[in-house]
Symmetry: none
Subunit: 201 residues, 4 copies
DNA sequence: AATGAATGAGGATTCATTCAT
DNA sequence: GATGAATGAATCCTCATTCAT
């Protein structure tokens, strides 16, 4: 059994274990490094510290991981869409129906990172900003051809807010979140906005 | 010299101290009972336990308090409004501009309760549901005369989601949240919904 | 059994336990808070933290305590001496024969504080300086009438150095330190200095 | 590509790194093997263990190294001096002005070894004794022709103590130690002793 | 009514040390 | 010859919580 090149493997396992463990804890960040380490192949908690430097960094890495998945999901969906309208729909879909972004653990973890970003110093907050900015700019970019630059920003704000709002409400529910329905709600709104805007359309 | 009838006073002080301390902690629930007790007039942490039974209960009480304020705020605003439309606007306003519901501490605290409701056992979650249900039913009730029962529910969902989404985004910002702007965004949406609806009607 | 007013008692016990435990550890500061707490009446280590705030503070307090004893010892001896010469002798005696300042534990602890003052931030170092300054100024003050201000400082330096040197060498020995002998050595030197000086005068 | 004959090189590097690292740590022995290894050319901490067997041994080796340097210094200076008096001066000089024995790191390290010799088992203590004995016998040897065997021992004691005392005081100062001044102080004392003794001289 | 005293349990973190390669 | 991987044990420290007064 080879004993070299374990680092990336361990890192990955630890990040995944972090997310899983948070999910198992009902979404709370009240998770010990020991728990995480145990789930990550039963390694020692010292190893987790060795690789990440501290609990905060572990959380940060997990957050970054989720955001990476999210980004990939969005990009993948976008690559298929051709028209601006299709692209907007794709973005919305990515938020609610994305494969890897969907599992309950991920939702819980995400939600907590979202809030805890306030206490986790610096890094976490910055990460959140990136997410928010990306969502907004993605939406605005494809709204512009449809409604013009004037309204694109504003509409993007609204849609983004609604997405976050729905996402969070989902996380708080007991029953499995219904991504499809959430999606439809946002799309409804989008239609309304476009409809109201383009009287002629 | 211990006075009689101190209990309600202490309780109030402790609840308020809890909210304040959470705010001071940047919105995090990482607040010790000792800190809370100290801020609540410098009482002993033992007293806090004596009155509430435990830290969770203290948090719960604080949450309940915020929700009570919120409810009062909504009711007050509603009592003035006369038309359904005015009532809907009042509800939206209550969420973003309400006097006691607004201070940053409260926002932070609220946001955390919102998320942490998952870990705080039972009670907290139930409380959140009440809030969500109330917001929804308030909106739906006054939307019904405008758009009919079919759509009222759905629109209430959307508006509520947007409110939550905006609220949370506010809490994550550095600069002081701009309640007015948030309000306008929701109202915009409302108009759009009503406009789009009326056309069709 | 009264349960109030324990703080000063516990503090004292903890400080003494610290010194004792360091002595038991062969003079090393490799002593855990738990060990200290156990020896201090078997209290919990948490209590030690509660009262002192941290391990460093505990050490600092112990150091301060030793220095206080030392100061008291010097003062007591000085109060009896009448002539400058007698006072100088008293100071020297205080360093080597002082009752409370003598026990091996104290020597060990002192020696370690002496050295560790470099790492213990700020406070410890300051404390050491106070000790050194006091020893020097005590000596210089009483040398002045005998040899004049010009030489008093210089002689005080030398005597102080010799005292420290002897003290440290004592601490490193296995057999019980011979305070009397050390004393005599310094006094010898003093005589030499005074003798040599007088000749020249 | 691992080279042969690296062992002595690595050992030297590790010993030097130990001394340097202790100096950097403000003289404290709170230095990790990892730090030492990194400074010693970035080798792995495992290598340090491989060569020395343990942290204590590393420290011991560093101590031994310093003592070796010290011994060489003394011998070198002694080889030039011709008269007993010159030889005594040479010994004193070697303690305060010796090239390799002087750098602040070495002073710090030395002082710590000096004290910590108590906890480092056996070996360290023995090493210290060797140093003390050597200093004493060196001095005594050359004092004998000057003052006779009776007093030589006693005077050597005093001078050695003063040397140690000054040395330690130097190590505790912030500003760079003034070796010249220390030297002069001891020489002053020596003169006094010789003068007082040899009235006829 | 209120508190000081005290604790136990647990968690993050650090490190020397070992081992297979 | 040298190292990355991994760990176990220890230590500091924090806190909610309890209890006698």
């Amino acid at each position: 059994m080879p004993k070299v090149g374990m680092e990336p493997i361990r890192r990955k396992a630890l990040v995944q274990a972090t997310i899983a463990e948070i999910g198992k804890a009902g979404g709370s960040l009240d998770v010990t490094v020991a728990q995480i380490a145990k789930r990550a192949g039963g390694v020692s908690s010292a190893l987790a510290h060795h690789y990440f430097g501290g609990k905060d960094q572990i959380f940060l890495a997990a957050m970054r991981h989720i955001l990476t998945l999210y980004g990939a999901q969005v990009r993948a969906t976008l690559s298929i869409a051709k028209t601006p309208r299709a692209r907007i729909e794709a973005i919305i879909h990515a938020n609610f129906e994305a494969g890897n972004f969907r599992p309950p653990e991920v939702i819980s973890a995400w939600l907590n990172f979202y809030v805890l970003s306030q206490s986790l110093d610096g890094g976490a907050r910055r990460l959140l900003r990136v997410y928010q900015a990306r969502l907004h700019s993605n939406l605005a970019h494809d709204l512009r051809p449809l409604v013009g630059g004037d309204q694109a920003d504003d509409m993007a704000d609204k849609l983004a807010a609604m997405i976050d709002g729905l996402y969070i409400r989902h996380a708080l529910r007991d029953h499995l979140p219904d991504g499809k329905h959430a999606c439809d709600q946002v799309l409804d709104c989008l239609d309304m906005m476009l409809g109201g805007n383009h009287d002629a359309t």
